[in-house]
């Protein structure tokens, strides 16, 4: 993907459900429209703890706090990478997750599927 204005592209470690040691891939991109795009990538077997989807709201809250992203400027994307499996349920997916904010925490996730092209367009802006 062509990426500009990347704040980070790394492995992000977090405490998942029941404090389980967990990790995901993390890309953060500041878009020209003032939104901050956060892509959390599920690491499957390389994640010893909770999945991104299961923990998206607390994870997004923690990332927003750590990178000082206002909740109304956060555009959170869940990414499951292609595992190279012949099984279709391990192909790549992107979902935009919108949350409600109570000021402190993000809650009540709602998913909307995105194509790779849509994500690439966002990242090139």
């Amino acid at each position: 993907m062509k990426e500009k204005n990347n704040l980070t592209d790394s492995i992000y470690r977090f405490k998942g459900e029941w404090d389980m040691d967990s990790q995901c891939g993390l890309k953060i991109h500041r878009a020209k429209n003032g939104m901050t795009i956060v892509i959390a990538t599920d690491l499957y077997n390389e994640n010893p703890g909770t999945s991104v989807t299961r923990w998206n709201a607390p994870l997004a809250t923690a990332i927003a706090a750590e990178y000082q992203i206002p909740h109304n400027k956060l555009y959170f994307i869940e990414h499951t990478p292609d595992r190279g499996s012949k099984l279709t349920f391990y192909t790549e997916t992107f979902y935009h997750v919108s949350f409600l904010s109570d000021g402190e925490k993000l809650v009540d996730p709602n998913w909307e599927k995105l194509t790779r092209e849509e994500v690439e367009t966002m990242l090139s802006s």
Partner: protein, 442 residues
């Protein structure tokens, strides 16, 4: 001459004083429609019981084979749950004990899968593996400071601490069908390095394969009187050398066993057969030669195969399922077990379906892998349900499940007669099936 008289004082063995009574309960669940119903002795409760201190007296009830009598003559109630379909019954039991003023602690696999909800019905939930932890929990209970959650999900005990399981808490006669004893359950490892789509085992037992020390495994196997076992490890096919060492050590025991999948390497199969492999479960997910060849290989070594067939995956159309059913009839499976895809919490299947808003039924009693609770990708839920019944009916059309099971059972008897371990059925239980009187031929 007087012989010197030696006075030997025979010390009576000290009777361990039991100062706490725990009522341990394994809730009942409704079995899959149309399937032959066998009740196997549960594994979780006997493994848990081994982690309790000596001062604990355990009174165990498996509600699947005997009615639960609720009385207040215990100090603490422990509810052990394995399946999602057990949890609502578990919660119900807890509420009844609460009305008697008893405290209830929950543990086991489905407690971990449904911990947040179970907390609403529990005085305490135990998350993780209980080896080396229960002294602390019971000490808290005695001091009236039982914690709401004992969370050891991130802190697994040394695998060498596991076992031997306390099978003595089981009323063994309840696990006989017409004089034939059911297999005893046993495990040689925990954790799984695979992360399969519909499976939550990596959440439950960790992504690392954790084999028990072989000497401990053999020591426990030697204590099991039952000659027939179900090795319930998630998969034995995790480490070839370990697998071979395990089978080699098991050969002298002359046990006969079934298990989940094992590797199809000739050297592994050869040792498995010598170690008493009776039959193995094999997932049949497509109609490829790979599956056909694998089943043939097992058979070549005298090992039976029960196919496990999951219906309703996103890559299956109606035609695919119909083709799969036909394929099963061609590949000489000894038994087949059909289930419908069920998105259990803490699986990738759950994550995918939640994102796509495809789960329409959250009644945990229906999460028995025989009822469609989600919107399949290529057909209606009703059609998938029909195909599920069609699969069972078609596979067992010419020979019933009971007949096929009997053939498999005959194979194990032949093996036992050959190596001198065969024990005939118990005549005193010939008219009893899982504790209930039955007429012969029923």
């Amino acid at each position: 001459m007087f012989k010197e008289i030696q006075v030997i004082r025979i010390r009576k063995p000290e009777k361990k004083i039991k100062t706490m009574k725990i009522k341990l309960i394994y809730p009942k669940w409704t079995k899959l429609e149309g399937q032959t119903h066998f009740n196997l002795p549960p594994h979780g409760p006997v493994v848990f019981a081994a982690t309790l201190p000596d001062y604990v007296e355990i009174e165990f009830t498996d509600e699947n084979v005997e009615p639960l009598t609720i009385t207040d003559d215990c100090d603490l109630v422990a509810i052990s749950m394995m399946l999602t379909t057990q949890i609502k019954r578990g919660w119900e039991i807890a509420e009844t004990y609460h009305s008697l003023g008893k405290k209830v602690i929950f543990g086991g696999i489905s407690t971990m899968l449904h911990a947040e909800e179970t907390l609403q019905h529990a005085d305490s939930v135990f998350l993780g593996e209980s080896e080396g932890r229960m002294e602390q929990v019971l000490d808290d209970f005695r001091k009236n400071r039982l914690q709401k959650v004992y969370n050891f999900m991130n802190n697994r005990p040394d695998i060498a601490l596991v076992g031997p399981a306390r099978r003595d808490i089981l009323k063994s006669e309840l696990y006989y069908h017409k004089g034939v004893q059911m297999v005893d359950l046993f495990h040689a490892s925990r954790g799984c390095r695979f992360s399969c789509y519909p499976c939550a085992v990596t959440y439950l037992g960790g992504r690392e394969f954790r084999p028990r020390p072989l000497d401990k495994v053999i020591e426990e196997l030697e204590t099991i009187q039952n000659n027939r076992l179900f090795i319930v490890d998630n998969s034995l096919a995790q480490d070839t050398q370990w697998e071979k060492d395990l089978f080699r050590e098991m050969i002298p025991l002359k046990k006969k066993w079934c298990s989940h999948t094992i590797e199809d390497k000739p050297e592994v199969l050869n040792l498995a057969a010598q170690a008493g492999a009776w039959y193995v479960y094999q997932a049949v997910f497509d109609t490829s030669d790979y599956i056909k060849d694998r089943i043939k290989m097992y058979h070549d070594y005298g090992i039976g195969v029960e196919g496990t067939i999951l219906l309703g995956l996103d890559n299956q159309t109606e035609d695919d399922i119909l083709r799969l059913i036909d394929f099963l009839l061609e590949i000489d499976l000894d038994l087949a077990e059909f289930t419908v895809m069920t998105p259990f919490p803490h699986t990738k299947a759950w994550d995918d379906m939640i994102r796509e808003k495809r789960i329409f039924n959250f009644d945990w009693n229906d999460y028995n892998a025989g009822k469609v609770v989600f919107q399949p990708k290529h057909m209606s839920p009703e059609r998938l349900q029909e195909l599920f019944y069609l699969a069972w009916d078609t596979f067992y059309k010419d020979e019933s499940q009971a007949q096929k099971m009997f053939k498999l059972f005959r194979k194990v008897i032949e093996k036992e007669i050959e190596d001198g371990t065969y024990r005939s059925r118990r005549q005193d239980l010939a008219d009893i099936s899982f504790g209930k009187k039955v007429t012969r031929g029923s």
